[in-house]
């Protein structure tokens, strides 16, 4: 038993314990909070990388909490997908934490600094915990940690609209929570277990057997609805545009970049780890149902994004579309498709994180939120805007950015199904990509090719370095992982294969 074998719990405990210390230290001196959080997330990031390495070398890790064997105690199960999510989560949170130092000082009242960082760490811990757990009820608990902290973070600015957005988010989120709780109860009453691996074994004997299969289906439906709310899958996305656009930008980046992906993770766990792929793909075509929903999400989300005037709201609607890409890939349930969906989690996290951080930088420097007012920013903030452009191109899926690779895999996955619906899905992917181009090119054109209204708009006034660094790292990532996509693929591909059992 070396320390390395405890990595699954370490990645969860680092942020959570930091969250417990932060208020105490913040009470002494508020300036300590930020370095503490940065250090802690860096450690979490390193731990996630180590975790991924040990998963890659030794296969799926099962960690028994308190030494109690799985069906009786809680087991943490880290497969390729879980390790992959941990890396994405800790990486993006690290970027947001670095960014927060200067951004939060201006955006938030001083008294809220400590709660802000505490909640950020709790949210990270919640996401980490939900990613590595192998227990259904435990996932629920960690989902609540991340949900409640995100409700609070959306409203933390105390602005009128933000509070209402948070309330709306909370209301829907609470419904989602209740629905998943019902789903857990149904599965428990049928099988008597909460462990995912055990559940999948015991459920296999119940498929299509008498009336208990009704309960099974209803449980599945409740899970789908509950986690779709958390993942903001169309048509349950209604909370997202308000919440993501009203939150502080660093939080928007985390919410849009990864939090909704954790919802997608839960969907994937329910579909492929608890219910078996054969059941959800063939017996009852749940996956093709959610694929259709995702295809609609892509189109509708993009169309809504086109009609937005507020930059952050546009980005939020774009997230609705892109969660559609992810879920579509998952729902295709083919090797390429699911790999593409999982890969897009990472690529979208980088691109959308970068975009929201850039939007935050624009608001920080100029106070502008309206897309039409952004003229002249290309000269004013050249680096920020260059990063914005790269990330936007990645969202559109222009080579050689990372978005192109996920588009490639998703497209292959859609065609691989070999059915007519696959052709519809690829139509949705390509059309979604084109629609995405429409609203991002509008912003880019405004930034670079439009005369600014005021002369002083063209004075060089770059984002402070502390905020610029994470922006540039994320934008650089969009390009680097587009040229060297094998790095994320080395985890995403086995993850998809393991989930699908192929």
């Amino acid at each position: 038993m070396t320390w390395a074998s405890h990595l699954p719990i370490i990645v969860v405990l680092i942020p959570l314990l930091t969250a417990y210390i932060t208020p105490m230290l913040g009470w002494m001196d508020k300036r300590i909070c930020n370095p503490l959080v940065i250090v802690s997330t860096s450690f979490a990031f390193i731990a996630s990388l180590l975790l991924a390495r040990s998963v890659l070398t030794r296969g799926v890790i099962s960690y028994h909490m308190g030494g109690f064997a799985p069906p009786f105690g809680i087991a943490l199960v880290v497969d390729y997908f879980g390790a992959y999510m941990c890396i994405v989560i800790s990486f993006l949170t690290l970027m947001a934490a670095i960014y927060s130092r200067e951004y939060i000082a201006k955006e938030l009242h001083e008294s809220k600094t400590a709660p802000y960082y505490t909640l950020l760490m709790l949210m990270t811990g919640g996401m980490m915990g939900a990613s590595v757990t192998g227990d259904l009820f435990n996932m629920f608990v960690f989902f609540e940690i991340l949900s409640i902290s995100s409700y609070a973070l959306v409203a933390i600015t105390g602005k009128k609209v933000a509070i209402l957005a948070s309330y709306k988010y909370l209301l829907l989120g609470a419904i989602g929570t209740s629905f998943t709780l019902v789903g857990i109860a149904y599965l428990y009453i049928l099988t008597g277990t909460l462990n995912m691996a055990d559940l999948s074994v015991r459920l296999a004997s119940l498929y299509g057997v008498g009336r208990s299969s009704w309960t099974l289906l209803v449980a599945l439906a409740f899970f789908m609805v509950g986690y779709s709310i958390k993942a903001a899958l169309f048509p349950l996305h209604t909370w997202l545009p308000d919440a993501h656009s009203m939150a502080p930008s660093s939080i928007s980046a985390v919410l849009s970049g990864i939090l909704i992906k954790v919802g997608a993770l839960a969907l994937i766990r329910v579909l492929f780890n608890i219910f078996q792929p054969e059941f959800v793909v063939e017996t009852i075509p749940v996956t093709s149902m959610i694929s259709w929903m995702a295809a609609v999400a892509i189109i509708v989300g993009s169309l809504f994004a086109i009609s937005q005037v507020d930059l952050k709201r546009m980005l939020a609607y774009s997230s609705v579309a892109h969660i559609g890409f992810i879920i579509l890939g998952v729902g295709l349930a083919t090797g390429y498709g699911t790999t593409g969906g999982i890969l897009h989690i990472f690529n979208h996290a980088m691109a959308k994180g970068c975009l929201f951080l850039c939007a935050g930088a624009i608001i920080y420097k100029t106070g502008l939120r309206n897309i039409d007012d952004l003229a002249g920013l290309g000269n004013k903030m050249p680096f920020t805007m260059a990063a914005f452009t790269i990330a936007a191109l990645s969202m559109i899926g222009i080579p050689p950015t990372a978005g192109f690779i996920s588009k490639f895999y998703l497209g292959l996955g859609a065609l691989e199904t070999g059915t007519w619906s696959g052709w519809v899905f690829i139509g949705a992917i390509l059309l979604g990509s084109l629609l995405t181009a429409i609203f991002y090119m509008r912003v880019i054109n405004n930034i670079y090719f439009k005369e600014p209204l005021h002369r002083e708009d063209v004075q060089r006034d770059e984002t402070p370095l502390g905020m610029l660094i994470p922006i540039l790292i994320l934008a650089g990532g969009c390009v680097i992982f587009g040229i060297f996509p094998r790095i994320p693929l080395s985890l995403a591909e086995p993850a998809a294969k393991l989930l699908l059992g192929i």
Binding site: Y151, L170, I184
Partner: protein, 121 residues
């Protein structure tokens, strides 16, 4: 036609379903934000009831192992109780946050009527 034995055998569950629906209905239809959350709490409570019900065993006693208790003693299922402890705490936490949000909303907007709030937004 109707299998009364079946209906009666699940009577707790039917109560849960009814409670759940009442809660959900209140949550969707009521205009007052606090009433919406009362609806949520009703819904959550119905789920708690459901957990407790499914742990029940005919003639079971509370799961405390008496000294030297034989294996013939029937205990009720302890696991749902454990789960529900956690779930209750979660529900309370959500409600606490929701109520503080509602306080803020009332401070800022001066109303708790959801239609009015949509207008003011």
């Amino acid at each position: 036609m109707v299998n009364f034995g079946f209906l009666l055998g699940h009577y707790n569950y039917w109560a849960v379903v009814v409670l759940f629906l009442i809660g959900l209905y209140a949550m969707i239809v009521k205009k007052n934000l606090i009433k919406k959350f009362m609806g949520l709490n009703i819904m959550d409570t119905s789920i708690f009831l459901f957990y407790i019900s499914m742990g029940d065993v005919e003639g079971g006693v509370s799961p405390i192992i008496a000294h030297g208790g034989g294996s013939d003693v029937i205990y009720v299922n302890p696991l749902p109780s454990v789960l529900i402890l956690t779930a209750i705490v979660v529900a309370i936490s959500t409600t606490a946050l929701a109520l503080s949000l509602i306080i803020k909303i009332y401070e800022e907007y001066g109303t708790l009527d959801s239609d009015r709030l949509v207008e003011l937004m």
